[in-house]
């Protein structure tokens, strides 16, 4: 039986979920969408960020603060990863992307095994005043942890969009995505620009990892669940578009939530990926790609 309250709650839950999808995908939107790096290890890096947050949380630190503190560390990790990828794959030319997939696939396995060795295989969670509590406005109820994800996703999108459009380095990153050779002719080093951008994308993943463990428990193999979803958001958005990533995340979250509430949860993911196929069929460059 149709209920307006239920539909309203589904839309609100979908918006919050969509923003969470955006937050965990926006790093990939930079590394894969802008830089063309087949970063299959992105979800594993998210899980690594979540475990870093867990470690700092054990010392009583707030998960969001822990995520922010981890960002510089992950920035350096990203720079190291890109440098290794560039020296061993991208620089050697032919089939760099294909071999790069194997490299990042390997990285994700290494991360998973290292996490198992250090933390074991049990689920880990963090605590914060906003986890396990809800807010209600009339008949609309929402979990506070999802509101945090909502806020962080908006903040990340705005910051990255401003950075990429208003700063010199940001514009250089967009330039390297559009025409690497032209950038080189202008005297800039595209490899360093890409390295910087990949570091930035990895740093963002640290914060997104903090959100991951705020929203639910994590375990070393959790990355497998997020591979499809994060790539779906990025491709749906159109490669490299930050605001597009937010809108694609929202589209996915809201459609999943409405389908779940009205037609059944089993259909929700089929609809999401059906939407992706439809968009790719009609607009191969994605909803917001150029």
């Amino acid at each position: 039986m149709f209920s307006f309250d239920l539909l309203l709650n589904a839309v609100v839950a979908g918006v919050l979920l969509g923003c969470f999808y955006t937050a965990v995908s926006i790093g990939l939107s930079m590394s894969f969408g802008l830089l063309d790096v087949p970063n299959i290890a992105h979800p594993a890096v998210l899980v690594l960020g979540a475990y870093g947050t867990f470690l700092l949380g054990q010392q009583g630190m707030d998960p969001i603060l822990a995520g922010v503190i981890l960002m510089p560390v992950f920035f350096l990790l990203g720079i190291g990863m890109y440098r290794f990828y560039y020296e061993t794959f991208a620089r050697r030319g032919a089939n760099a992307e294909l071999r790069g997939i194997a490299f990042f696939f390997g990285v994700s396995f290494v991360i998973e095994v290292v996490l198992i060795l250090i933390f074991g295989v049990d689920q880990r969670m963090v605590e914060a005043s906003y986890i396990g509590r809800g807010l209600s406005f009339g008949e609309v109820r929402m979990p506070m942890r999802m509101l945090v994800a909502f806020g962080m996703a908006i903040a990340l999108t705005v910051c990255l969009a401003l950075y990429l459009t208003k700063t010199f380095t940001g514009r250089a990153i967009r330039a390297v995505a559009q025409d690497e050779a032209a950038l080189r002719l202008m005297g800039a080093n595209p490899v360093r620009i890409k390295q910087w951008a990949f570091g930035l994308a990895t740093a963002v993943s640290a914060l997104a990892g903090a959100l991951l463990i705020i929203v639910g428990p994590v375990e070393p193999s959790l990355d497998r669940i997020y591979i499809g979803r994060t790539f779906c958001v990025v491709v749906l958005a159109g490669l490299g578009s930050m605001t597009g990533t937010l809108l694609a995340g929202l589209t996915l979250g809201v459609s999943e939530s409405i389908v779940l509430t009205m037609f059944g949860a089993s259909w929700s993911q089929a609809v999401s990926f059906g939407l992706l196929l439809l968009v790719l069929g009609v607009r191969p460059q994605g909803m917001f790609g150029k």
């Binding site: 074991g120 689920q123 979990p143 929203v215 193999s221 959790l222 939530s257 779940l260 949860a265």
Partner: protein
Amino acid sequence: MKTSSLFKAALAGFSILFAGSAFAQPIKIGLGEALTGTLSGGGKASLLGLEMWRDDVNAKGGLLGRKVELIYYDDQSSATTTPGIYTKLLDVDKVDLIIAPYATVPTAPIMPLVKQRGLLLMGNFSFQVNHTVKHDMWFNNLPFGNAKTWFDGYFKLGQKLGVKTIAFLAADQEFAQNLANGAKEIAKQLGLKTVYEQNYPPTTVDFSAMIQAIRSARPDLVFVCSYPNDSVAIVRAVNEIGVGDSVRMFGGGMVGLQYAPIMESLGSMLNGIVNYNSYVPERTMEFPGIKDFLNRYAKQAVEAKVDPLGYYLPPFSYAIGQMLEQSITATKSLNQKVLAQYLRTHEMKTIVGPIRFGPDGERAQPVVPMIQFRGVLDNDLEQFRQPGKQVILAPEQYKTGDLIAPFEKARKS
């Protein structure tokens, strides 16, 4: 004459040497185990329980005068790896006996192989894998029986409350669906009206919309069949959104609420939930040897980085070893048919209580402690070692308390 004596002496020497090497040859027991992947939380803890049995039995001199050796491989929580692993164990490692991997999914594909070769297989918390294969040398340590016996206690409790309507929430995976279907049959028999039914994909991140829908449906009873990550998300969503005043009882088949890290992290959010378990430290479940096992396990679990409480699986893995030990010692044989015959016809004495098998290799009398979380505090793992935190409501012979209902009242208990 002199040559003959020398020959005899050499022969005697060889005989002693030969006998000595046979004595030194260990009894090899092989298994695949989920050491990585989604089932590894249970798999690693389960393996520790089995290793503790091996160490205990070897400290007593082994079996039939031979040491016991465990040979195991990581099945990665996958059904695709186990046929290869068990073929290797049997044909390359030449193990004497095999134990099934932890859980249903990795066990199911080895059943045809085991039946074809006529092998004894000790099951380790697998659900209905012998249902269609009907192998007569299968003996499962799972105490729950089939889908109906598993939740019989839950529905009897609901019946006492006079419930009329029910909501179902179940993961869209084989194991959870099998359980949910069993529960639905019971609900149908009891004449309960289903007001909400949702099968969610296992990759679901947030359950707010589903809990909101349950709230709107206003059921008397909520039955959940979920996996660990989902269980956490569902408990959190219940705490955040609330299921409403209509709900008399909530829970049922939530996997994960038996694991120490999850119990510790959810803390007071668990209060009021009624859920199945395999063992809880209540006075009615103080079987001989269980306390000693759990004390020793607690020390080793820290080093092994596995569930520090270890109530759910490790004692039952240890029990597998005890059952093999009892059968081998009594029959003085490693012949699989002889051992299977013994297991089929005798009561096994284990740290999880006496076990007798039915004709299908499952428990003749299933035992499913249906517990209610009470007075659980936040951030305190040690509290779960004490009685009173997981009060047994059913079955009658293990009962340590009465159900507190409705759910909202129980949450404050």
